[in-house]
């Protein structure tokens, strides 16, 4: 039997799953509901200035990269397996597509964080 390379992706999936389980619902509420509707938070909580300060800080950069990249890996991993669960055996191509997508997203994210500067 061939050794599976799943440990790489499973680790990323697991990290994303853990992160999203801990902060996912709150973060979605904050950026998608509370901030836009200014509930609990101030109207400019996610304003341009605030966000710029945040992503200029190395820890802020790391947080953004971790969130976006790991969420993508987590999501793509599950979507790949769901295809199989639904009876669509797309084979290696599907794996390349999904993990490629998550990797590309992560790289774009890193590049953006870099362009925004320190």
């Amino acid at each position: 039997m061939r050794r599976s390379h799943e440990p790489i992706f499973w680790s990323l999936f697991g990290a994303g799953g853990m992160l999203s389980a801990l902060v996912g619902p709150a973060l979605i509420l904050i950026t998608g509901v509370l901030a836009p509707l200014a509930i609990v938070l101030g109207p400019d909580a996610l304003g341009y200035a605030n966000m710029l300060v945040f992503v200029h800080h190395p820890l802020g950069k790391l947080a953004v990269l971790a969130l976006i990249s790991l969420f993508l890996y987590h999501g793509c991993h599950r979507m790949l397996h769901s295809l199989h669960d639904l009876g669509m055996h797309a084979g290696r191509g599907a794996a390349v597509f999904f993990y490629g997508f998550a990797t590309a997203g992560s790289l774009v994210c890193a590049a953006l964080l870099f362009t925004i500067g320190f």
């Binding site: 039997m1 050794r3 599976s4 799943e6 440990p7 499973w10 680790s11 199989h84 669960d85």
Partner: protein, 261 residues
């Protein structure tokens, strides 16, 4: 004290409809259902219902059974869509509705309620489920020591009766027939987790494969239906961690095994 005087309700004869999936490879191209009315009592198992049919109504109805006490693992069926031991499911719990009995899901049907367990038997063997000690043991040296705490590490996983309910519960078994599956992987873990065993390396090829622990997507239904509390989902998924550590070459550092002596 027990009051075993029959209550009027228990004494009244009741019947229930049992509907079985039937398939005769010599006659049929596809399975079909057939029903019977079966008298039952408060302690009549579904298996006893099937036996009643076979003895009195239709001798050709075919199913496996043996111990009728939930330990031999022969009599698993889909009962109203749920994998169960038919000797351990009771007609009283389904009445007055009918009860539908089908062969275990995810297996090919050989005849009526009998499924093909050949692939499973090969999978069971593929995990090398025998003791692989670090050195050859001599009977003259007597029994090895193993504390109750060490026993506890694997005891739960040694409870498997190979009833296949977990295979019928696991969609990955149906979707990917090569998947080694819950019971066999739990058995592998049973030996790996035994303080007397040193066989991790020998079994690693299977564990680390796509067909091994990585075939599981943690549906978790296997553990739900297991009649013996084996929790195969636990056995498999903690080995995803082991397999990952093995992949990155850190298993030996992080998971040293307690010795038997």
């Amino acid at each position: 004290m027990t009051d075993t005087t029959p209550t009027p309700a228990a004494a009244a004869p009741r019947t229930i409809e049992i509907e079985c999936l039937r398939y005769d490879p010599e006659q049929d191209s596809a399975p079909h259902f057939q029903s019977w009315q079966v008298p039952f009592d408060d302690d009549t198992s579904v298996l006893q219902g099937l036996q009643y049919i076979k003895d009195h109504l239709d001798g050709s109805l075919t199913f496996r059974w043996s111990c009728r006490m939930a330990i031999c693992g022969s009599c698993g069926k889909m009962i109203n869509g749920v994998p169960q031991l038919s000797c351990h499911a009771f007609l009283r719990d389904y009445w007055p509705n009918k009860v539908r009995v089908e062969p275990l899901a995810n297996f090919a049907i050989v005849r009526d309620l009998v499924v093909d367990q050949n692939e499973f038997l090969d999978k069971l063997e593929s995990v090398q489920p025998w003791m692989q000690p670090c050195e050859k043991l001599n009977v003259a040296d007597g029994p090895q020591r193993q504390t109750p705490a060490q026993l506890d590490q694997y005891y739960q996983f040694s409870q498997c009766i190979n009833c296949l309910l977990c295979y019928a519960a696991c969609p990955q078994v149906g979707l990917k027939p090569e998947f080694i599956g819950p019971a066999a992987l739990a058995l592998m873990h049973r030996y790996n987790a035994d303080s007397r065993d040193r066989g991790w390396e020998a079994r690693a090829e299977v564990a680390n494969a796509e067909e091994g622990v990585w075939g599981c997507t943690l549906v978790g239904y296997c553990s739900e239906v297991c009649p013996k509390g084996v929790d195969p989902a636990h056995a498999i998924n903690q080995n995803k961690v082991n397999s990952t550590m093995d992949y990155f070459g850190v298993r030996k550092l992080l998971a040293p095994k307690g010795g038997a002596r």
